[in-house]
Assembly symmetry: C2
Homo-oligomer: 340 residues x 2
């Protein structure tokens, strides 16, 4: 209805982030970069999942509020274009809670407890039996987010694939009840480059571990984090042969250095021996400073005009809400919940 | 804002029914009769809980839709007056799902599983591990219903008291997060006359057991159900002494016969011996025909003008939605979910 005719045939993508902290290189490589290219080939909805972030942040609701704007700044800084992608705030589309409510009837407690993603997240957060109900049931909420926009593609990490399966189970159960295909099944799209380790070599970049390089990092911050980058602990003297496995400096260069020929040469030299870690890190710093400088500049530009950013979010949210409202209306009709 | 000044100081009552079948004498004695008197002394919201009914009726959504109107007819028939009480349809107040969504973060799965009402309902329905998530979490939904209207009084059966306790736990946790009393604690109000047994003597009147006398019953239906009323199985000959315990005819007379002196005399005669069951049942039939005739007539009157009933429901729902929207707005603000 409201979408321009030329975009309605493009596949719909839903993606987004829990706004609990600034985005970093891990987000850039794992999702943000892809979103910039998806916006040419798909109708992309980018969700600031503040409501979902609350499921385990009820003790610090101000943090979630604050980070909605910070993450929006990160989006704009990397080149997600509100004219091409619909950036919206989850909590401001209450239709999503309505869909969640009905989907909760389509999934059993046992099925939620078996969901490997939920199981792992519960373990990571140390919830055990004190799981907030909203946390156990968040697959229903995620199904609401995905189906509200009739998304066909959902970019997720490998570990999130069970969530998409659960969404599709709900879709099929709902469509059986409706007797017609009201909702659309989604497909997980796992990015080629997986998770980037932290600068310290730990599996995951995490704000609390202090092992990230944020998109808004200053040149000094970038420099000091690159110095900390984990390399080869066996590479004690420059002349020694070095190892590439688990070597974060080279993992980052693989991800960000566009001069692949020079990189291959550098790797060969490192393995052979005679290449100092400091030179590898110098190259990495050059690459990252070059990558992040324009992102930081754009971020600073938008930071100075928060009113404009809020206006952009308001418009994106209105657009998202129109789409979600149409789906919710279909869902209500299928459940016999139309009276007037 | 929209409430007349003279009603704002009255305590708010929330009450309602799951629209899964026609209402019967059990509803009349346990709640409907009280609602007619509450509407003089309280600001009463009467909810047609269609969304809650779906938690275990996803296989028959049409039944729920149909019964919303049927139950509304029952309300009007017994004298619940839309000018005094706000009668509304739960699903048409989507703010309730939004509140539910946030309250799910304030209650643990373990706490829901310990809720005695939920435990018993799960047992009754034979759900065991295949509990729909929406069923386990319905205390959060009920908390949403109660708090949305800032209800201070909630008329419930004895078995529902744990639900009100759970609501109040959520209220307290929420208010702690908010740092101010956004939500209001509620008090269970248990009616003096508890549950009425079925005509067959079974503990509960239930449509599926066929042991009810519906409010819209025809004179013939009343007559044939009274014939089935369970009395004293030891009272074989008229001359035998009769027993009152578990004697449904006398339980019903206790509930509905307004001539208490005559009833006490009849009881004494029955216990002494010499009073035939048929005479007791004749009295019961007279009482019930007199009680139900005006209810049936009013019901038939409204049945002929369903458009008017729908209009009444539409207006009540709009009014309820305004109140719920104000609470939801407060809840969003307390959670930092206001951006624009």
């Amino acid at each position: 209805m409201n979408s321009p005719a030329n975009t309605t045939e493009l596949p719909v993508i839903l993606t987004g982030d829990r706004p609990t902290g600034p985005l970093h290189l891990g987000h850039f490589i794992g999702s943000l970069r892809n979103r910039v290219s998806y916006q040419q080939t798909a109708r992309q909805f980018v969700m600031l999942a503040d409501a979902q972030a609350l499921t385990d942040n009820m003790d610090d609701v101000a943090k979630v509020h604050r980070n909605v704007i910070e993450v929006a700044l990160d989006y704009l800084a990397v080149g997600i274009d509100p004219a091409q992608s619909t950036i919206f705030i989850q909590s401001q589309v209450p239709e999503l809670t309505e869909l969640t409510f009905y989907y909760l009837n389509l999934v059993t407690v046992a099925r939620l407890e078996r969901n490997p993603t939920v199981k792992e997240e519960i373990r990571l957060r140390g919830f055990e039996r004190d799981i907030p109900a909203g946390f156990l049931t968040y697959p229903a909420s995620q199904a609401a987010d995905i189906t509200a926009f009739k998304a066909r593609l959902v970019p997720v990490g490998e570990d999130q694939i069970p969530m998409i399966e659960q969404t599709n189970e709900i879709v099929r159960r709902f469509n059986r009840i409706a007797g017609r295909p009201v909702l659309v099944e989604a497909e997980a799209r796992v990015p080629e480059i997986g998770r980037l380790p932290g600068v310290d070599g730990k599996a995951k970049m995490s704000k609390s571990l202090g092992n990230t390089i944020n998109l808004g990092a200053t040149p000094d911050e970038i420099r000091s984090q690159v110095k900390r980058v984990y390399t080869d602990p066996l590479h004690l003297r420059v002349a020694d042969p070095g190892h590439l496995e688990g070597n974060v400096a080279f993992l980052y260069l693989d991800a960000f250095d566009t001069d692949k020929a020079a990189l291959e040469e550098m790797k060969a030299h490192y393995v052979r021996g005679g290449l100092a870690d400091s030179l590898v890190k110098a190259r990495l710093e050059t690459v990252l400073q070059a990558l992040l400088a324009p992102i930081r500049e754009r971020r600073q530009h938008y930071e100075q005009d928060r009113a404009q950013v809020l206006q952009m979010l308001r418009e994106g949210t209105e657009k998202a809400r129109e789409v979600a409202a149409r789906t919710t209306d279909d869902v209500r009709a299928a459940l016999g919940l139309k009276y007037f």
